[in-house]
Amino acid sequence: MGKLLAVTIIVIAILSAIPVIMHTWEPPADVSTHGKLIDDQMADTMIEAGVSFLAAQFLLAIFIWQFSSRRADAKPKTFPGGAKGLVIAAIVLVGVEVLALGAFGAKAWAQVYFTPPAVDAIPIQVQAGQFAFYFRYPGPDGKFGPLHPELINEGNQNLFGLDPEHDVDSRDDIVTAEMAIPVNKEIHLLMHSKDVSHSFFVPALRIHQDFVPGLDLSVHFTATQVGKYEIVCSQLCGLGHYNMRAYLEVMSQQDYEDWLKKQAAAQ
């Protein structure tokens, strides 16, 4: 019975590793400038975690195989090096391993969160609400008009609560239900929620940031490939959470400018 358990553990460990080695299930291909650092970090971690996983499972299985059917008069043996060796191994090997992961991983994190957006980054505002994202572009004046939550009215399409009658800056603001950005140009995304917590997750862009009601947050990123990508909500926000999504279209600079003009005309 012990030997069967040993074999089962090894078979499970190998079968678990195969889809990882074969890349059977992978995230959408990265289309951001910073994503490679995250993907590399993920790959390094996979190697370290994978080796730890297989080593521990194999060692467990081997010892179960070896010592589950010993003779009654067999003498107990002690693991070479005893507890001290194992404790030192755990502290040194795992300590170095996790410190290295932490140190290298910090680089990817810092690139996303510790560097300010470029001065010429395009500001785009995104508002999350049950169960849709809406986007606002500042228009030719480059300024966003102030928000008045009390004026939000989906019926008359005042989705952000703008007051163009009194706020000059709001008059040329462009509000859309889809997001378009130019390729290879940094975007400074200004995020706020109108009701509960949501999240802005674009798997292909390696961007993931919660919306926190009461807090104005921002992220910045650059998309490197023209295409249409899904923006999904990953923070439970209510009954329509699963269906809360928008599309991010990455376009050439010319297409983007044409798109903006078209949207401005439609306001």
């Binding site: 755990a90 991983g105 699963y242």
Partner: protein, 595 residues
């Protein structure tokens, strides 16, 4: 560590009426069994909910026969609505985390065996102990009533993030009365756990029999003691958090709701609150809670393994210090749940470091177990199979922690099925394996009858393979970006993953059905099992020196005296046995190595 010499005082007399013996009992053993039975009811409820959820995720438009009768609003014509899915998910997680994973390994086994293992006749505050169970049962009943209010249970998940959980029914079905019931139930639950933790701590510190130094306590007693210390501080944070949440609902306060929120074009009449405050309070409780669920499992596995390996652990101290380190670090890592929450990104780095460090004590425990297997005379029985399965699961769930401890990788994996796979394996399934191991190990003592070993082994094999089939693919889904807490997968990039979800659902239904074997074995053995001897596993700790089941006053009015620690296995004795019981003055001729 001083040696206590005072004999434990008699805590209460023998029960004289049926009610005092079986219902409102102050006997820690009866209370332990009551907790265990509550956990059984809870786990069946939670598992049925997970079945319904899994069927819906795999075949979203399928009608589940009879569901419309149970919930005409939630599943009209048997097809689950998205909100009903979220409501079942919230209840599944709440029931499992609080009323199974906290209740069974800690409150049930701890109540039954902690006083016995310390050599006490009972806990120092038996009436508080009785109260802790009845308060916990009340909390469970209150929680279940959420199914019967007009718009059902809350849908905000077991984490119940504000402001979704704080602004009332405008936020969605179940977010009014259902959410208040949820917070009330958990607030009550906290009271029960605090009473229990106080009793556990006092038992270990004040009730040990003569000779039972702290160093001689078995692993399980240490684990329950450490867990109690965590519970005392963690539940003391959750309870006020729940009270504040209730006040936001019923008293017009705004602890968790900032100003300027708009739902259905209506401005919410709150201002000044902090959304992140709830997350900080919740996770300051929530992460220690993960260890509250798993540390008793570490104790049970160590206790079961050392008995079945017939040799001492390579190092008792390494295991105990590691458990303390886990408990201590558990308070310093909670921010890893909030890496992308909008918390200061520098804080993420600060929380990442101890999260990575917590790998070290976990690794030490696993390596000591595996190293101790080397050269042992491992006995395979259902209890040891589940203990070995626990190690495998704990490793599998633990290594995914490498990923989630890093903020940069969390950008991609946060709130995906990778997280679901991680915590289900490391604190859910591993803890369940600990519960099963403890059940098969202690059932003879608790009920005086042996469980059926063949059925136990079948239960183990099918559960072991089945749980891997369920939870390992969760990680693959997470890698592919599959967001959790979705009632259906309608996104373009998620649709190709549905076949994998269907595989998981089949595995979950199968593995769930396998648990009926356990239930049958449990009930049948309880009624018809072979009579259990006092010490069926040749164990050394004090629970094995008394008849099975023990008398009401544990040691029959005698005060046990302890001469050894509980690791005296693989020794040569004048009597020829390979172990020495803790209360035996017998000395070994030579001892196996160990410290």
């Amino acid at each position: 560590m001083h040696e206590t010499s005072a004999a434990p005082a008699v805590q209460h007399g023998p029960p004289t009426t049926f009610l005092r013996k079986h219902v409102f009992s102050t006997d820690h053993k009866v209370i332990g069994i009551q907790y265990y039975h509550l956990a059984l009811v809870a786990v069946v409820t939670g598992m049925v909910l997970s079945w319904l959820m899994r069927i819906h995720l795999a075949w979203t438009n399928a009608a589940i026969p009879g569901l419309q009768v149970l919930s005409p609003n939630g599943a009209p014509s048997g097809v689950m609505t998205p909100e009903y899915y979220l409501q079942l998910m919230t209840m599944h997680a709440t029931i499992m985390v609080f009323f199974v994973l906290t209740t069974a390994p800690f409150a049930a086994f701890g109540n039954y065996f902690l006083p016995i293992q310390t050599g006490a006749e009972d806990m120092p505050f038996p009436h508080f102990n009785m109260m802790s169970f009845w308060v916990t049962l009340t909390a469970f009943i209150v929680l279940i009533t959420a199914f019967f209010v007009s718009d059902g249970p809350p849908l905000a998940g077991w984490t119940s993030y504000a402001p979704l959980s704080a602004i009332g029914k405008a936020a969605g079905p179940g977010q009014g009365a259902g959410q208040v019931i949820w917070a009330t139930a958990l607030g009550i639950f906290c009271i029960g756990q605090l009473l229990g933790a106080l009793n556990f701590i006092s038992t270990v510190l004040d009730m040990r029999c003569k000779g039972m130094t702290l160093n001689r306590l078995p692993y399980t007693a240490w684990a329950w003691f450490i867990t109690s210390c965590m519970g005392l501080t963690a539940f003391a944070v959750l309870m006020p958090a729940c009270i504040l949440l209730i006040l936001d609902h019923v008293a017009g306060t705004s602890f968790f709701v900032p100003s300027g929120l708009v739902i259905n074009d209506q401005l919410i009449p709150h201002s000044g609150g902090s959304t992140l405050l709830w997350q900080h309070l919740f996770w300051f409780f929530g992460h220690p809670e993960v260890y509250i669920a798993i540390v008793p499992g570490l104790g049970i596995v160590s206790h079961v393994l050392v008995t079945n390996m017939r040799r001492p652990m390579l190092s008792t101290k390494a295991i105990l210090y590691s458990m303390w380190a886990l408990a201590f670090l558990s308070y310093m890592v909670y921010g890893h749940h909030m890496f992308v929450s909008g918390m200061n990104p520098y804080s993420s780095m600060a929380f990442s470091f101890p999260t990575l460090m917590i790998t070290i004590p976990s690794t030490i425990v696993v390596l000591i177990w595996i190293g101790s297997l080397y050269g042992s005379k491992l006995r395979i029985n259902t209890a040891s199979l589940f203990a070995l399965g626990f190690i495998s699961m704990f490793v599998s769930g633990g290594v995914s922690g490498f990923f989630l401890a890093q903020p940069s990788i969390d950008i991609q994996l946060h709130a995906t099925y990778f997280v679901v796979g991680h915590f289900h394996m490391v604190m859910g399934v591993a803890a369940m394996f600990g519960i099963f191991s403890g059940t098969y190990f202690w059932f003879p003592k608790m009920y005086g009858r042996m469980m059926n070993e063949s059925l136990g082994r079948i239960h183990f094999w099918l559960t072991f393979v089945g749980t891997y089939c369920i939870f390992m693919p969760f990680h693959y889904l997470g890698w592919a970006g599959n967001v959790r807490r979705y009632a259906a997968f309608t996104d373009d990039y998620l649709k190709p993953l549905i076949p994998l979800h269907q595989f998981i659902t089949v595995a979950a239904l199968f593995t769930g059905a396998v648990q009926l074997i356990f239930l049958y074995n449990f009930i049948h053995s309880r009624l018809r099992g072979a009579t259990a001897p006092a010490n069926p596993w040749e164990g050394t700790s004090l629970e094995w020196i008394m008849p099975s089941p023990p008398p009401w006053n544990n040691f029959g009015g005698k005060d046990p005296v302890v001469y050894h620690d509980a690791d005296q296995y693989g020794v040569m004795t004048p009597s020829g046995a390979d172990y020495i019981m803790q209360d035996s003055p017998e000395m070994p001729i030579t001892t196996a190595s160990g410290d």
